[in-house]
Symmetry: C2
Subunit: 454 residues, 2 copies
């Protein structure tokens, strides 16, 4: 049997080698959203596949209509034992605003015990400790107690386009009893967590067009309806004074989760912690809902971007030809992303100023997903992480989305569980993303130990 | 006496020389708003001063705290005759969006009989025909019937900062009976106009700050109040459903001009013409006001720019740290720009979401101005332009602002009149600004002939 002590011992012996590989992984600028980085994404995938192959896993670099997928397996446990599929991604978010990075995003740099780099946590750091945990069993000459499969894609940050299209073909190959999604947070620095779900997502872009070109605000002021004004008036109608989204049908399929069920999940979101960590002093959920409820059990509608007219330094007195907004919703179980998107599009069209041209683009959406608290993998991760931390882990739900997860569950027939050692102030998706080797090790220990408990 | 025929004859003989100088003037990228163009503004001023000096005018290049002023005079008519001050500017608007220019903005290019270049109309084309009109009298050996002064500044497009600060010192030097502001439009292509006023201006920038950095819209969605949402909700409160500005006191000093007085000014703004020329199909004035009234006799509040979050291609699911808007108002007589600006700032602060940090910057404002319909210069320009066009000119008011004009009137003691041969679809302040030599000549003829009528 593999104990925490065995794993600690191995990690400690191989610490510098582990860190070297980690830094190597971080140096690839594998930004999937920007086609200009395509070759760097491919190099990253090639490196990762080679690393896993050399670790003794049966590895394939699988081409997709998008970026390649790294698939690896060790089925030596045999068909009588369960199969665990581990999911993660080697791609990262864009780096803008680039000027706010203290050290270059693709040159991992240690400061105050933390490793700063894009992807340090999300998801290179996290998937790499999981890989090391599996490799460690093999390197120590132990038989893996379950069959292990890895699905590490390159487009999680840009809607998993390639993997989505390959699921029908790959579903059989990746068939598993359990799916461990290694892309989540712990509860707080001293408290591990098992994640049993995330929200869905649907997004839209809306453009209001008032004239062929930008207009002089004196010559046309009082005459032309300003698209910026039309846009703020339109978008402001999306919520009432209580913060409830006004799109008809938006809440129709939302199940009001009773307090008793909600309380089974721990809440990371105390107002004060948020304010402290991020400077937030205004809170945005529906009135009468707790932050925990608003973040995990209720859908949101956010304006991710608004723009129109002159936005440089100083003033330019124009009436812009057009104004735009990017809108996305986080969805909860039972909400259908396509239906919600269509309702929002219809609301925008119906409420726009008459005469103003309106264009709405709806992007593909994803459903929310949930794991089973009683599943064997849930219990194994819970026990392993509690042992690692020396305190009982918490069960949590994430407010975030991993679009591929609900589809991966469907395609592989597996029960999902999420784990991770991210923290709310790691600045993932923002400048100066960072992780630390202590949490890297905790992740490694948790995965390594959970294998023994399955 | 100088007749239209004399002037036409001279223009026709010197047409190619005039065009050469016009193109030379247009090649200077004299963008005053951008400090990077300072040297090009200075070169432009030096060239202009030299050109006027060689034309026989007593010329000075006057340093200001901002960009230099070109001052020129011919006082040979003597102290018993009236003095006419001509005002214009050699600076131009920025060129963005740069990619929409069909030919380079500072390489004047003729297409379909029009000259395309930034400043082709505003105001290089216009002030240059006025200069040629004065020089023509001298070159033909005629004595100028009035004393003539030119004040040509380099910062009209960036709030006339330098000239404003020099007015106290220069007021005496520029003292005049009449002020001819050569920076306006004609009524339409076949109909000249005398402009008897413009609107004032006040502008502000507002920023809402929700957190230290951009946040992940899943992890923080439902928790953080999105500054984009706070901004659209705040800005939407600026108008009621009738299009009336909701800032307390905004209309307090606005005099309701009776229809009889309004009808003395011609109205260029038929809905259909606007729609045709610019693609406008939604109209923005207060309900119950005609377009003419809304454009010339009522103040406006415009959102010149809004921005917040991710505005590039595709989606990025952030809750931005901050969102901004640039706001400006066109003001009518009796409205005090500073008071109006303060009221707007107060309205924004009072209506922002509690807890959301708000920063408001108020820029210096300018008053509206009016000329006298019965003044001798008004009548001279009216008669001259009517002779040139062969139809009775119209009297109009502009919806635009020329910040320095009300101050110039005060400092010089002159009565103002505005003239110009701009047209609504010349794309001033926009890509592909253009003018044509026919209108250039009409301007030249009007100024040249008006001198004889003063």
């Amino acid at each position: 049997m593999m104990t925490i002590a065995d794993l600690k011992n191995w990690f400690s012996k191989h610490r510098s080698e582990i860190k070297e590989e980690y830094f190597r992984f971080l140096r690839f600028a594998s930004i999937s959203a920007d086609p200009a980085y395509r070759d760097r994404c491919e190099h990253c995938a090639q490196w990762l596949a080679e690393f896993m192959r050399q670790g003794g896993l049966q590895t394939e670099l699988i081409s997709t209509p998008g970026l390649p997928l790294v698939y690896a397996e060790d089925l030596s446990a045999g068909p009588q034992t369960p199969t665990l599929l581990l999911y993660g991604h080697y791609d990262v978010q864009p780096i803008d605003p680039a000027e706010l990075w203290i050290s270059p995003p693709f040159e991992p740099t240690e400061r105050n015990g933390s490793v700063y780099a894009r992807g340090a946590v999300d998801d290179k750091g996290q998937i790499l400790y999981a890989i090391f945990a599996v490799l460690c069993w093999k390197k120590m000459g132990r038989s893996l107690p379950v069959n292990v499969k890895f699905c590490i894609e390159g487009e999680e940050e840009s809607h998993s386009t390639g993997l989505f299209q390959m699921l029908e073909i790959l579903g059989k190959k990746m068939r598993a009893d359990y799916l461990l999604v290694v892309d989540f947070d712990q509860f707080d620095r001293d408290m591990p967590a098992v994640s049993l779900g995330g929200r869905g997502l649907v997004s839209l872009e809306v453009t209001l067009i008032g004239s062929h070109t930008d207009l002089h605000s004196g010559l046309y002021g009082g005459v032309a309806y300003n698209p910026n004004r039309a846009l703020v008036e339109l978008l402001a109608k999306l919520w009432d004074a209580e913060g409830r989204v006004q799109v008809p049908g938006f809440y129709d399929d939302v199940v009001d989760v009773p307090e008793k069920e909600r309380s089974m999940f721990a809440c990371r979101y105390g107002k004060e912690d948020y304010a402290k960590a991020c400077g937030i002093e205004a809170f945005g959920g529906e009135k009468g809902r707790t932050l925990h409820e608003a973040n995990c059990f209720r859908p949101t509608l956010e304006l991710n971007g608004i723009s129109g007219g002159y936005t440089g330094a100083g003033m330019k007195t124009v009436i812009p030809a057009a104004a735009q907004a990017k809108i996305s919703c986080r969805l909860v179980p039972h909400q259908n992303p396509e239906t919600i998107g269509r309702s929002i599009a219809q609301f925008l069209r119906q409420n726009a100023v008459p005469g103003m041209k309106i264009e709405v683009v709806q992007h593909e959406g994803d459903s929310a997903f949930r794991g089973e608290r009683t599943s064997k993998l849930t219990q194994a991760i819970a026990k392993a992480s509690s042992e690692v931390a020396g305190v009982e882990c918490r069960y949590i739900l994430s407010g975030a989305s991993i679009p591929i997860v609900p589809e991966l569950v469907k395609a592989t027939g597996a029960q999902m569980v999420g784990m991770g050692y991210g923290l709310i102030d790691d600045e993932i998706h923002a400048p100066n993303e960072h992780f630390d080797m202590h949490r890297f090790e905790q992740g490694f220990l948790t995965v390594g130990r959970a294998l023994a408990l399955l």
